[in-house]
Amino acid sequence: MSTDMETAVSADEMMTVVAARALTDETVCFVGIGLPSTAANLARLTHAPRTVLLYESGTIGSKPARLPLSIGDGELAETADAVVPVPEIFAYWLQGGRIDVGFLGAAQIDRLGNLNSTVIGDYHRPKVRLPGAGGAPEIAAMAGEVIVIIRQSPRSFVDRLDFLTSVGYGVAPGDRERLGMPGRGPTIVITDLGVLRPDPETRELTLTQIHPGVSVDSARERTGWPLRVSEDLVETEPPTDDELRELRRLRATLEAPA
């Protein structure tokens, strides 16, 4: 269903649409702010109307009509089935094993899907001090599976993280089990170039899908390690008119006055 709109699809839009598609219906989803929240709400407003969104501010089942700028906008509370204290959202709901999917971003990712959102450079003398962990380490550990959304570049797809904030598959297969993490870890990593999935054996992130107009070579160039490419590499279906229209409408609500 390629359309006239397709030519104008931005890299962020492509990422967001693909991330939304990764959410199946009736999924209980713990969402971070930014692209994860946009993608999860896009899914809810298109093919997955019964997807349940939880935000770390304690809102359960939020159905925002406008995109929140922060994780705790009033809209999230007003449209929620329940609002609980922050200690409870982490203890009873995330740690309690009630979350099917966690949606995370990061500044850096390595080939085993581990994430850095803490610092670039030395911890005590950082080149860039990033916001830090937030809810990510426990979402990465406890959610049934994790969807990662991250722009792909040699600075973000690194051979070695400057800081390990959230565990993907650790340093070797079996690390999650050894660390007592009940979730399956990052099952899909969505970038502006394509989609990576962990190899069933080695857990190494492997390019399995590439967006229209992107070459495998450019994906390799924008990866800080020798990128493995699946033999069954497929091309991403471009966003449909419906997806794009809904996404753009959603994003416009972020700018509009209340």
Binding site: S57, G74, F90, P131, G132, A133, G135, A141
Partner: protein
């Protein structure tokens, strides 16, 4: 029984140089007015505690109030960096800032342990991360005495002063909060002293869906501070000023423009942009 005080009196009486102070409010009900009063009273050497430092701690750090920050996520939500926080960490400006950082789940468990008068909280967290290398004083492995399973202990937080904003108090000092309640109750109960700023003091707290009440005898001081959470929001009173959060990125990027803004909007008045 809570004392009903003016905000400047409450800060003068309850917040001292060198204190550990938690101004909480999880994106909602952030106590900006109280933070600005602390800046005006030129408190120094504070250990600032907050899950999401947000703009209020960016301002207090840039104003030189803090020597240490305990936190879990230090960004401008949906916008980007906290430039004053970064300048303090990256360039020691205006003074060096020691960091103690955690995950949200860890901070929440630390507050809940503090409110529960326990020396530590327990969670499944931190394992496998480098956070552990920088938090030996506050995060440790602990074995379940029944199953032998290893989980994570985090040191309880018991700040000297806990400060939150709320929608209302009655004239006896009972406090009512609704919408996202975050860790407001935990921080008031975990702290040795507490200040609650409120949008208004009313004759009666009519029950509301989703509201919690902190009884007056669990609160230190109540101070009326209308619009005291602005530019964050107070559910039922006013919306978040998302535009200001976006403008702050520009204002705070540069030391001079930050100082000008603070001089104009904080140091000379009781209001905020």
């Amino acid at each position: 029984m809570a004392e009903l005080l003016a905000l400047d009196e409450a800060v003068a009486e309850l917040v001292h140089d060198g204190d550990s102070v938690a101004l909480e409010g999880f994106t909602h009900l952030i106590p900006f007015a109280a933070g600005h009063e602390i800046v005006r009273q030129r408190r120094r050497d504070l250990t600032l505690i907050r899950m999401t430092p947000d703009l209020i701690y960016d301002q207090m750090i840039g104003a030189g109030c803090a020597s240490k920050l305990i936190f879990s996520w230090g960004g401008n939500p949906g916008v980007g960096s906290l430039h004053r926080l970064r300048d303090a960490v990256e360039h020691d400006w205006p003074v060096p800032l020691e960091l103690e950082e955690h995950s949200h789940a860890g901070m929440a468990a630390r507050y809940a342990a503090g409110a529960s008068n326990l020396p530590f909280g327990t969670l499944r967290g931190y394992v496998g991360t480098e956070l552990l290398e920088h938090s030996e004083e506050t995060v440790a492995a602990i074995d379940c005495p029944f199953t032998g399973e290893t989980v994570t202990a985090v040191r309880a937080l018991r700040p000297d002063v806990g400060i939150v904003h709320a929608q209302r108090a009655d004239r006896e000092g009972n406090v009512q909060i609704w919408g996202i309640v975050g860790v407001q109750k935990e921080i008031v109960l975990a702290s040795k002293r507490s200040v609650v700023t409120v949008e208004e003091v009313v004759d009666e707290l009519e029950p509301r869906p989703g509201a919690i009440v902190l009884p007056t005898w669990a609160v230190g001081a109540v101070a009326e501070a209308p619009r005291g959470a602005q530019p964050s929001y107070a559910h039922g009173y006013y919306d978040r000023d998302n535009g200001f959060y976006q403008r702050w990125d520009e204002i705070s990027r540069d030391r001079d423009s930050f100082q000008e803004w603070m001089a104009e909007h904080v140091l000379t008045s009781a209001g905020v942009a």
